[in-house]
C-alpha cells in the first residue's frame, strides 16, 4: 500500500515488514482513512516474524489520536505474542507537541521496542 500525502493525511507506506507514515493527520473522515490501514496492518502482522514502524508526524487532531491509540495497541499485542516489533516515533527537535504525543503513546508500550527519535 502506498498512499500519497494530502494536506490532511500523511504519506503511508505498508510492505510485508515495514510501515511508514509521514506528514499531517487530520482526515475529513478518520474511519475511511484508518480502517484500510488497520486491516492491512493486521494482515501483515499475522504473516510476519518481525515488523518495524516509523512515524514522522507534523500534526494530528484529536479524532486521529484514537486511531493512533488503536494502532499502537495492535502493535503491543503482537509484540506480547512473541513477535519482534520495533517502533520509531520521529519528531522535529523543536516540536514539543509531537514529542509529548510520542511520550504519551510510549507509556503503553511495554513489550514492543519503542524509540523516540529527535530529528
Amino acid at each position: 500500500m502506498h498512499l500519497e500525502a494530502t494536506n490532511r493525511t500523511p504519506e503511508v507506506l505498508i510492505s510485508d515488514s515495514v510501515l511508514e507514515m509521514k506528514g499531517e493527520c487530520y482526515p475529513e473522515d478518520i474511519t475511511a482513512f484508518a480502517e484500510p490501514i488497520l486491516e492491512l496492518l493486521a494482515e501483515k502482522l499475522a504473516a510476519c516474524d518481525s515488523f518495524s514502524v516509523s512515524l514522522e508526524l507534523r500534526y494530528f487532531n484529536s479524532s486521529s489520536a484514537k486511531f493512533f491509540f488503536d494502532f499502537f495497541e495492535v502493535l503491543e499485542e503482537t509484540a506480547a505474542k512473541g513477535k519482534s516489533i520495533s517502533i520509531q516515533w520521529r519528531y522535529r527537535s523543536s516540536d514539543n507537541s509531537m514529542k509529548e504525543a510520542g511520550e504519551d503513546f510510549e507509556e503503553d508500550m511495554e513489550v514492543a521496542d519503542y524509540q523516540l527519535v529527535e530529528i
Binding site: 490532511r8 500534526y59 484529536s62 484514537k66 523543536s94 516540536d95 509529548e100
Partner: protein, 172 residues
C-alpha cells in the same frame, strides 16, 4: 456597522483570519492549508504554531459537529484567529442547544481547574475509555484545547438564540 468599520474592527483586534457561515469538512480542507501558512508566517516557532493550528482545527470541528444551526454538510458558526504582541488567540462562536449548556459548563470548568499533568491523565483516560455518549469524534477536543492553550475562557450568550463562545490563548 459599515463595511469599513468592520474592516477596522478586525484589524484593531489583531484578527488576521475569520470565517463565518457554514463550516463543513470540505470548507475546512479548503482553508486549513492557508491558515497553517499564515500562522507560520507570523511566528516561526514550530511548537507554538502547531499548537495554534491544532486548536483552530479542534474549534472548527466543534462547529462542524455540534453547532445547533446546521445544514447536511456541517454547522454554522464563526472561527477566528488573532495575533498581538502577547501571542495568538483562537475564537469560535456557534449556536447551541440550551439543554446541553449545564453539562458543557461543568466539563469546561473542570478542565479549567486542571494542571497540565491532570489534563494529560484525562486525555489518556478518555483515549482508553473511548468517546462519551453523544460525541461525534473521540471526545478529546476540549481536553486537547485545554492542553495546548495557555488558557481558555468560555461564555454562553443569549442573543436571542443561545451562543456558545470559546476563546483560547496561545502564548510563547
Amino acid at each position: 456597522m459599515d463595511s469599513h468599520d468592520f474592516h477596522k474592527l478586525l484589524l484593531s483586534r489583531g484578527t488576521f483570519f475569520c470565517y463565518s457561515g457554514l463550516l463543513s469538512e470540505e470548507v475546512l480542507s479548503a482553508i486549513s492549508g492557508i491558515v497553517r501558512e499564515q500562522v507560520s508566517d507570523i511566528d516561526h516557532d514550530i511548537d507554538l504554531t502547531t499548537r495554534v493550528f491544532g486548536i483552530f482545527i479542534e474549534q472548527a470541528q466543534n462547529i462542524i459537529r455540534y453547532s445547533e444551526e446546521r445544514l447536511a454538510e456541517g454547522g454554522i458558526g464563526t472561527v477566528a484567529i488573532g495575533h498581538s504582541k502577547e501571542g495568538f488567540v483562537v475564537e469560535a462562536i456557534n449556536p447551541m442547544n440550551a439543554d446541553k449548556m449545564l453539562s458543557l459548563k461543568g466539563n469546561l470548568e473542570e478542565l479549567q481547574k486542571m494542571e497540565s499533568k491532570e489534563l494529560r491523565k484525562a486525555y489518556k483516560q478518555r483515549l482508553r475509555e473511548g468517546p462519551p455518549e453523544g460525541s461525534k469524534g473521540a471526545g478529546l477536543g476540549f481536553i486537547e484545547i485545554a492542553r495546548k492553550s495557555s488558557k481558555f475562557e468560555f461564555d454562553f450568550v443569549e442573543s436571542p438564540e443561545l451562543l456558545f463562545v470559546l476563546k483560547a490563548w496561545i502564548v510563547p
